[in-house]
């Protein structure tokens, strides 16, 4: 999982804007921060954000919070650290928490994960969120519109032994889409890749292959996730009976899959039936 979110929040608005509203421009290390740790140890990483040369001096505030996804992966949800049982938010300290950055300069946030000695094995996660702040001492120049940037990256802490296990719960084929439902049955967030192979019954020739995007399966509040991908056009995958084979890669030395025969209908809204 990479960047969790990059949102532009409308902080204030008014009918008459004194200056044109524009987005803050910066570059940041958006990869999620993954930490292999042991109970009782402290691990330190750095998050870096570099402000564009032609920006104005900007103030940022960093904090840690919990996050998760909706089951279809279209939404992310953020709550205070500690909301989830597998939150690593309370283990994390940041330095600096609040700092102004000059144009062209960097904000380097040290992020230390102090793992409690009694922490159970498995994966824990939370998010580092860096919010742009209004300069407290800047006198407001009348009524204006200001966009404030907010960026979040995931923090994943893995305490061995890590158990990787996932299961394909269901495969649905509608007129234009394939949906695969996966369940994380391990003890840590799991990165999953995979594909759907469609074969004519009794034949080993693959008519179509649909690749799933890399997806992270969390453990709570839901350990299940739908992955939706478009099906090839009807010209390539006409309606009919197919052997549907779902194969997933969860980083083990083998793939895991399920298969069965299904009738695929290509009319809009049609659902495949066994």
């Amino acid at each position: 999982m990479t960047n969790l979110s990059l949102t532009w929040s409308l902080a204030a608005c008014a009918a008459l804007a004194a200056v044109p509203a524009s987005a803050l421009r910066f570059a940041a290390t958006l990869d999620s921060i993954k930490v292999q740790a042991e109970p009782g140890r402290t691990v330190t990483r750095t998050f870096q954000l570099r402000l564009a040369e032609d920006e104005q001096r900007t103030r940022f505030h960093s904090h840690v919070e919990d996050f998760w996804h909706s089951e279809d992966g279209t939404q992310s949800f953020y709550r205070p650290a500690g909301t989830l049982e597998r939150s690593c938010g309370s283990w994390v300290t940041l330095n600096p928490v609040e700092q102004a950055v000059d144009p062209g300069k960097s904000l380097d946030v040290r992020l230390s994960v102090a793992v409690p000695a009694a922490a159970a094995p498995g994966g824990y996660w939370c998010a580092l969120t860096v919010d742009q702040l209004v300069d407290p001492l800047a006198a407001p120049a009348g009524v204006a519109v200001q966009f404030l940037a907010s960026i979040s990256v995931g923090i994943f802490v893995y305490l061995p032994p890590i158990e990787r296990a996932a299961r394909v719960l269901d495969v649905e084929l509608t007129g234009a889409e394939a949906r695969v439902r996966l369940q994380n049955e391990g003890n840590a967030p799991l990165a999953v890749e995979g594909r759907l192979e469609l074969l004519r019954p009794g034949s080993s020739e693959i008519v179509a292959t649909v690749t799933f995007p890399r997806t992270t399966l969390l453990l709570e509040p839901a350990n299940r996730r739908w992955i939706t991908v478009p099906l090839p056009p009807a010209a390539e995958l006409p309606a009919g009976r197919y052997l549907v084979r779902a194969i997933i890669d969860i980083g083990l030395d083998h793939y895991v899959g399920v298969q069965r025969e299904m009738e695929i209908r290509r009319e809009p809204g049609a659902t495949a039936s066994p």
Binding site: S32, K34, E71, D72, T93, L94, S112, P136, A191, Y255
Partner: protein, 781 residues
């Protein structure tokens, strides 16, 4: 909003039909739109009328619930009696109610699973599709897709099967009843590599991993052994070694040749002690006084001079005939001036002095004694970048003959990249005089170098009591070089010499080398001359790297004796036509040397600081739980010892700055580094509406600017503020009164002096505001 629930129900009494369908299950799927909801918030109640579902399931279900167990998604088991707050059951209707617990206890999961004895019931959504699954379709339910109106549940019943929990080995056929069949597929090596690559790319940490960087655990010595044969019965052997052994620098090169003309052994061994204090040499040596020498030598680095003691033993190529003891010293006098000299027990001595100042390099030398020629001279060299100037003078007197010579050379840029060098040379003795004047033109053109040299020479012989013999000739030499990286090199030299009115003589020489592949190297040498007695020679050398560290070297042409690489015939040697040599190279791990640098990282009260990165030059370690750090096998030298700021735990601040550490061989260094924990100051800004002088829940004021020293922050919506990562010390906290809303004012005092101990947090610094009272000015009417 549709909500989800997860329950696992057990211990229901299922009469009759349940036993006939022990593995049937019912899955209730949610609608798509529910998947976009926040699973944490998807809590609530779900109502399932099993009695209504029963006909569709083909079951004659009579529910007589006794005990209900709920297992949440983390495996926590909850049990209760029907009708309790957790679960309630009616006579015909089982009402599964969920009372949300505190967040720390458990959350409502998106998934749900329930079982009624052998009948599994999975409830995913309140308004959902009901899916009947099992290994055998129910006669009543197979192929049925009918709404099973059950209160709020919009249900459709159809037959399917869930994947088995124990996947078989790779399978290519579906289950006999069309159910989902699980399988596993092994990954190929390429797929494993790709997976690892993807994993590494995806999981790239935002910064470096917390890995220690340590000196090498061992050192390495590369050893080479070669054995060869040359046509004509000559055998050759080579032995080489280069590398480190416990910080000793080792260099060994030895070669032996055995053949009809006899045997010859040559070699050179160089050993340098850790820290380069001592060095030992044996075998072929260079003597400042004698030139080529053979024997033993020991030298010691000592401040600004390097005394050297040598024992030279006579050999076939040495110019001395008896053992000689020599003392040499190289002395740096400062300001670019150095002197080196060697005195030997045979009476021969040599003295050289050099001066280097910026672009100027000058030297004078003298050597004499030992029944050999005495000589002396001086030289200068001036390098001004594009312009170079050099000149020398030397004089020698020996064997009844005195020779004086001097030369001068000036090089300067001409046109474009063309460089011209003018030179003159003169040598005279009582019996002869030789002079030469000429010019050299050089020009690089990309990968090609071109050089053209012209010389006009005059030679005079002045025999006593005889007429002077004079000779003049011209000489033109053209050199073309081509180099394309290191794979192709070509050098061609053409030379012509002629006398005025005489016939010209010519000579051509070619050297070429090609890297045919990464393992195959070809060298060509060829020469043609109408000047020399041996007008033609050629040599082809092919070097082929083989597996297991082997290398084959084959030479064809006018090959000479061992070792390989020589291209000059030794006196008495006859060239052969074929030579073969096989070499084997090993990289041998040798014991590591180095010294130990250790210490502790401590807080102000002496507390150990764990997991702190400590850097020693290029190396890095992390402190253990006791704050200890340890660098082993550190090579001798100067290093900077410091705390690595970027990896310092966020709650700590480095107190110790970088320090210089000199590591010497065999000596342990111990140092202490210090950190300080950081603290926090926080509180709330509130309006004391109820007059209790405490910040109530509804009394916080957001948007108030608070200063701590020169740092500023703004209160959040509930009036709270905080300043983080503060070093111990005294601070002034104040609310910026001028930026308060007009109807509020600070209750005195508006400034607080705070003493923050190291690592402490002061979180109760509440600032009280009060409404500003504006007087009413009454007007007269």
């Amino acid at each position: 909003m549709v909500r989800a629930l997860a329950v696992l129900l057990t211990a229901f009494a299922i009469p009759n039909r349940a036993a006939a369908f022990p593995s049937w299950s019912v899955i209730v799927h949610g609608r798509d739109r529910t998947a976009a909801a926040d699973p944490l918030e998807a809590a609530g109640e779900v109502l399932v009328d099993l009695a209504a579902l029963a006909p569709a399931l083909g079951l004659d279900v009579t529910l007589a619930p006794a005990t209900v167990a709920v297992v949440d998604h983390r495996g926590t088991r909850w049990t209760g009696r029907p009708g309790a707050s957790l679960l309630r059951a009616g006579e015909d209707t089982l009402e599964l109610g969920w009372v949300r617990q505190t967040r720390t206890t458990w959350h409502v999961p998106a998934a749900a699973a329930a079982s009624l004895a052998g009948l599994d019931l999975t409830l995913d959504r309140a308004a959902a599709v009901v899916e009947l699954v099992g290994p055998r379709p129910s006669p009543a339910a197979a192929g049925v897709s009918a709404a099973a109106a059950a209160g709020s549940v919009e249900s459709v019943v159809r037959a399917s099967a869930r994947p088995s929990s124990a996947p078989p080995a790779a399978a290519s056929h579906p289950g006999p009843d069309g159910s989902w069949q699980s399988f596993t597929l092994p990954k190929s090596e390429a797929e494993m590599t790709e997976s690892a690559r993807l994993e590494a790319a995806q999981d790239r940490p935002a910064t470096r991993r917390e890995v220690a960087v340590l000196p090498a655990a061992h050192q390495s010595l590369r050893a080479t052994v070669g054995l060869g044969f040359r046509e004509g019965g000559e055998w050759g052997a080579e032995l080489g070694a280069f590398g480190l052994w416990s910080d000793w620098n080792v260099e060994l090169a030895a070669a032996a040749a055995f053949g009809p003309a006899g045997s010859d052994v040559q070699g050179h061994l160089f050993l340098e002690a850790p820290g380069r204090l001592w060095s030992f040499e044996a075998g072929s040596l260079y003597s400042q006084a004698w030139g080529y020498a053979e024997g033993l030598r020991v030298a010691r680095e000592s401040g600004r001079h390097r005394p050297t003691l040598s024992l030279y033993l006579p050999g076939t190529l040495t110019r001395y005939r008896d053992p000689v003891v020599a003392y040499r010293d190289d002395v740096l006098l400062g300001r670019g001036l150095s002197v080196s000299g060697e005195a030997t027990s045979a009476g021969r001595w040599s003295l050289t002095s050099r001066l280097r100042r910026g672009a100027f390099l000058g030297s004078v030398y003298a050597q004499a004694g030992g029944d050999m020629t005495a000589s002396g001279g001086a030289s200068i060299f001036l390098d001004l970048g594009a312009v170079g100037l050099s000149g020398s003078y030397q004089s020698s007197d020996g064997e009844g003959r005195r020779v004086d010579s001097h030369n001068f050379r000036l090089s300067l840029p001409t046109v474009g990249r063309l460089t011209t060098a003018l030179e003159t040379w003169d040598a005279r003795s009582d019996l002869s005089r030789s002079q030469a004047h000429g010019a050299t033109f050089s020009m690089p053109m990309g990968d090609v170098r071109v050089r053209l040299r012209y010389l006009f020479r005059t030679n005079e012989l002045r025999p006593p009591d005889r007429e002077v013999l004079s000779q003049e000739h011209h000489e033109l030499v053209a050199l073309v070089g081509y180099a394309r990286s290191s794979r192709v090199r070509l050098d061609l030299q053409l030379a012509s010499r002629w006398q005025p009115g005489g016939e010209a003589a010519h000579r051509a020489d070619l050297q070429a080398s090609f890297d045919l592949t990464d393992a195959t190297h070809l060298q060509l040498f060829g020469g043609f001359s109408s000047l020399d007695a041996a007008p033609e020679r050629y040599l082809v050398r092919l070097t082929q790297d083989l597996p297991r560290g082997l290398r084959l070297i084959a030479e064809v042409g006018d090959v000479i004796g061992f070792p390989v690489g020589r291209d000059l015939l030794e006196p008495g040697q006859e060239p052969g036509s074929v030579k073969l040599l096989i070499q084997r190279t090993w990289d041998v791990d040798t014991p590591a040397g180095g010294s130990t640098v250790a210490g502790r990282v401590l807080g102000p009260d002496g507390a150990a600081a764990a997991d702190v990165p400590v850097r020693l030059g290029p190396y890095r370690v992390f402190t253990d739980a006791g704050g200890r750090f340890l660098f082993r096998r550190v090579p001798a030298g100067g290093y900077e010892l410091s705390l690595e700021e970027a990896g310092l735990p966020a709650h700590l601040q480095a107190v110790s700055g970088p320090m210089e550490v000199q590591v010497t061989h065999g000596r342990r260094e111990d140092h202490a580094l210090y950190v300080a924990p950081l603290g926090r100051v926080g509180g709330r800004v509130f309006v004391d509406r109820d007059g209790d002088r405490e910040a109530g829940d509804e009394e916080g004021v957001g948007g108030v600017v608070v200063l701590l020293g020169e740092e500023a922050t703004t209160t959040t919506r509930d009036g709270s503020f905080a300043f983080h990562n503060l070093a111990a010390g005294r601070y002034t906290l104040e609310v910026v009164a001028a930026m308060l809303p007009g109807d509020l004012q600070v209750t005195p005092p508006s400034r607080f002096e705070i003493g923050l101990p190291a690592g402490e947090s002061l979180d109760q610094l509440d600032v009280r505001l009060q409404a500003r009272l504006r007087p009413v000015v009454y007007q007269e009417m």
